[in-house]
Structure formats: C-alpha cells, structure tokens
Symmetry: C2
Amino acid sequence: MKYLDKLRNSGLRPTKQRLQICEILFDTEKTFHFTINELDKKIKDKIDDKISLATIYNTVHAFEKKGYLKQIPINSNQIYFDTNVTGHHHFYDLKDGKLIDLENSDVGPINIKRKINGKKIKSIEVLVKLEE
Amino acid sequence: MKYLDKLRNSGLRPTKQRLQICEILFDTEKTFHFTINELDKKIKDKIDDKISLATIYNTVHAFEKKGYLKQIPINSNQIYFDTNVTGHHHFYDLKDGKLIDLENSDVGPINIKRKINGKKIKSIEVLVKLEE
DNA sequence: ACAGCTATTTAGAACCATTATAAAGTAGAG
DNA sequence: CTCTACTTTATAATGGTTCTAAATAGCTGT
Ligand SMILES: [Mn+2]
Ligand SMILES: [Mn+2]
Ligand SMILES: [Zn+2]
Ligand SMILES: [Zn+2]
C-alpha cells in the first residue's frame, strides 16, 4: 500500500478509510482545494465503500494536524482545505467562489517590517480577490 | 445627529438602532476588529435600549454593503469585521485569536505578476500568522 | 398633521457546517 | 490469541447565521 508508511510514520493507524481518503487526496498529479462537502461527494463517486461523515472530518483534521493538509484563510461558511502544503498564495474568484494557486514567484518576496514582541511569524499568506 | 447624513446619503433610513450602532462602531479614536457576538456585548454594555440580534446582523451587513465595514478573511467559526476599510493587512495571533493591523507601509508593495483572463483584482490582503 | 407606502425591527424558528457522544469495530503489541 | 488503545460510526448537540412574518417606524405627498 502506497500510504501505509506515511500513516504509520505519523502515528496514524492505516485504516481502510484513511488509506482510501489518502488516495483521493494525494494520488493526483496536481494539488487541489476542497471543502468537506466536496470531499464527501468525491468519496461517494470514487469508492464503493461508505465512509461516514464523522470519519471524513476526523481524518481531514488528523491530516491537517500532521501537516498533510492546510486550511486556507478565507471568509466562507465552509472551511477550505488545500493539498498543497507549501507556502503559497491564492486568487479568490468572488463570482464562483473558486480558488487558484498563486506561487511565491508570482507574488515576489514579502518583507514584514513590523515585529510583535515575543511572537514569531508562522506563515504569510496573500489572498487576492478577483472580480469581473 | 452625527450620522444622520451618512445614513441618508447611503439610502439607509437613520433609525435609532442604526444611529446607536454607528456611535459604537465609528465614534472611536481608533478603528477596531469585532465579531457579531462581541458587538452584541458592546451594545448591551454601552446603550440602555435593547437591539435585537437580527437587527445587529442586518445593520452590519448593510454597513458592509455600503463600504463602511469590511470582512477580514480568516478561518474562524465567526466572521471578523473591521471598521478600518482602507487597504491594509493583519497579524493574526493564533494563541488568543486577536487581530492586529499591519499598515501597507509595514508590508511594502505587493506586485502580483500573474493575470487571470477577464478578471481584475479587487483587493490584496496579507495575513501573517503569529505563534509563540 | 395625516394617510399611505415602504423600509426596518423583532422574536423566534430554521438552517447547516461542524463537533460531541458513546457504542461497536479494528489494528497492533506482546 | 488477547488485550488495549485507537478508530469508525450513527446520531445528537452546538452555535453562528439566516429566514419568516407580524409589528413598528420613517418618509413622501397632500
Ligand atoms: Mn460509489
Ligand atoms: Mn445596558
Ligand atoms: Zn492552494
Ligand atoms: Zn484591520
């Protein structure tokens, strides 16, 4: 199994459900963005076993904690996740609610000049909203 | 009344509730960030009349539509609003969930090199997450 | 001032994404 | 194989936000 070690090495038991979700999330050429609802639909499409919604939530959160997924900061009634966990940015199309990756090279270096005492920077994310 | 014209000029009737909310939101030296829940508490503290939660939601959304407030893109179970509607950025302290303004001058110019066909850029917002 | 019209407020219900619960099932260690 | 901790699951609960529809209030024209 392709993802057995990935899971074992993170201290996550490689259950059938987790392995199937791994295939949907990580077996693709390109990375992608998704909501839980979209992932649930994709699972129903692509696999014949049923995976409960609770397990989908549990798994996505477990993967996020391990750094295999990240949330995208955006105002929406649903959480958007990203299978691209490298530092990068996003276009957000206000018309259709879709996200498009913006590579670091498309944005250029961002130099935060202000410091906050006792805190360090964990991430810098740019959201570029698009309209017609 | 200080906010009568502001409201009338936007096509919003200057009701007692809207005028009172204006005072809480816009009568301050500094701009600030808030959730609906925090605004509701502040209203209970500062004014003696009761304003229903539905009216608070209605008013905040009306003000946002008129450009007197904006939402801050961030992952949270609640929407964060900002009384600072100029283009600027934010630190987000993951420890306590608080936002701190980052002026454009603290970030430097951001040059988005990539274009999306048929779309134009409405806003560019940077979120800098802080950890210990 | 008054009538008539429309916008607004309101309490409460509904909505719905997410989280909690607790019982049944499963993986891995020994 | 057994034991235990972890995981899955159906289902309920939670909680922020939106909807509903009836009451109220601002505004325009007279
Ligand atoms: Mn199927
Ligand atoms: Mn009071
Ligand atoms: Zn992305
Ligand atoms: Zn701000």
